[in-house]
Subunit: 206 residues, 3 copies
């Protein structure tokens, strides 16, 4: 895949993630600045965490100004027109699945290229996908949604695991598309059919 | 500016930040140790985050023992005499504005010197100023105050932006004073006049 | 001490810490994935934070797959049989004291070997011991227990301080056992006798 296309996809994924952060901020009635910070955190947090953990500093997000401008502008747009975005939440969740699929694969490959073993690279790939959302939830004072029966991180781990194995075996790049598609299909089906992860034995579903 | 004067200013700023953390801890009825950890986090968090993100490890705060001793002693003093400090909260907020102005400038310059572009250096400068307070609020279980209509981070970003541009253009050091003064005056006026950042359209002010 | 024995002790400590994270997750009725993430965070968080701060990246926890597998399997076991573990909480707290004693010493020595001064190395040793538990509590939406009158971090700091001094003075390795025992005995006595750290003057004990 050309690196320009990859950059465009990444910025698109960051914008979608950022819009989920901005929406949470608007609902918590944060000011414009709080909304922007929450959006930046959600859009960039996973990648920054990954870069810190593999020692690639400064992180990508600080090397290229577009990584900062995209989530910032997204935040302003959501802030201004939040009723529109609020009504599109289902559509945003579907786009979010696309971002998740992309980041779990690129995260795993980046970690593998930095010399991590397959298991660690898979964990970091997953973290790249879910880290921003976790920070969003902790900073806005709610238990991370990925912790609560919403099937989000499992598909990300599956995609990252496939991508890590492909990377370790020097497989054809086409397999990365399979890795991403696995995460995407699983996550979208979970959304559409209301699948969720198992709760502790004995817990009644709310 | 002589480096001794800068160090004294920095330690002063850390002590002021730490005292805000210690006061939050006392009000949450934490024990002496919780108060100390919260004070250390508030005083040092922003700078440590900046150092991690530019790859300057170990961070300053761990290289020089004074960076640990100052917020620790501050925490003990606030713990012992918290009724006095509680009554001085307004004065502490004004000193806090001084710390904010200092850290947004030194943070931006440090980040610029590490090779970051102007936008990233401004973001990191702002983070140096507000990061400790964000950690304080998240760790003590409240939504960060800088997210809630309190004009805090915008002045810090303005100061950091001016400082980054000056640094990038190799401008006269006097301009750093202008950068700091911009943040300081803006923040103090916001405090005195109750200015706040815009809330999402449609939100009623509490 | 042979490095194999040390590794086994470390993995044991990680498993105990992870089980406390998994129990919190089960009680918050998180799904299996949330329980696993919380367990990983609790088991590995302190060491990862230490490694980030001394610039030892990727952190140990990502270099050796066993560091990921042990807390993950622990989480699954606790998830399945949580009523059993719930009844053993007191015993788990005693084992947790063992993990704390181990990590404050190994953390302090690792930090000292990385060139930090005695005070910073002690602080990092303590952070290695308590960092995972802090992350667990913040991520699950409660004020960290180590902040609330539970004598937890003070013994860890004491152990780390002794270990740092021994390391700086190139003392006999036997002294590390003394450092760990100091933390262990203090923490266990605090548990058994209900000792707690001082609250702010004027606060009534709940």
């Amino acid at each position: 895949m050309s690196s320009t296309l990859l950059l465009i996809l990444e910025l698109f994924g960051i914008a979608v993630f950022a819009s989920t952060g901005a929406l949470v901020g608007v609902r918590k009635e944060l000011d414009v600045f709080g909304v922007a910070v929450l959006a930046l955190m959600t859009g960039l947090g996973g990648g920054v965490l990954r870069d810190l953990l593999i020692g690639s500093v400064p992180p990508n997000a600080l090397e290229d100004w577009r990584y900062l401008v995209v989530p910032f502008v997204t935040a302003l747009v959501v802030f201004m027109f939040h009723p529109v975005f609020g009504r599109l939440e289902r559509e945003i969740m579907l786009l979010d699945a696309l971002g998740l699929s992309l980041f779990c694969v690129t995260g795993a490959v980046t970690a593998g290229a930095a010399g991590l073993n397959v298991l660690s690279a898979s964990a970091l790939g997953m973290l790249t996908g879910v880290g921003g959302g976790m920070m969003r939830d902790v900073a806005s004072g709610r238990v991370p949604v990925i912790f609560r029966g919403d099937l989000y991180a499992t598909p990300a781990f599956a995609g990252a695991l496939i991508a890590s194995v492909v990377h370790a075996m020097d497989g054809s790049p086409w397999w990365y598309a399979v890795a991403g598609a696995t995460c995407l299909v699983w996550r979208v089906l979970a959304l559409l059919r209301g699948w969720s992860a198992p709760l502790p034995p004995g817990t009644l579903r709310g």
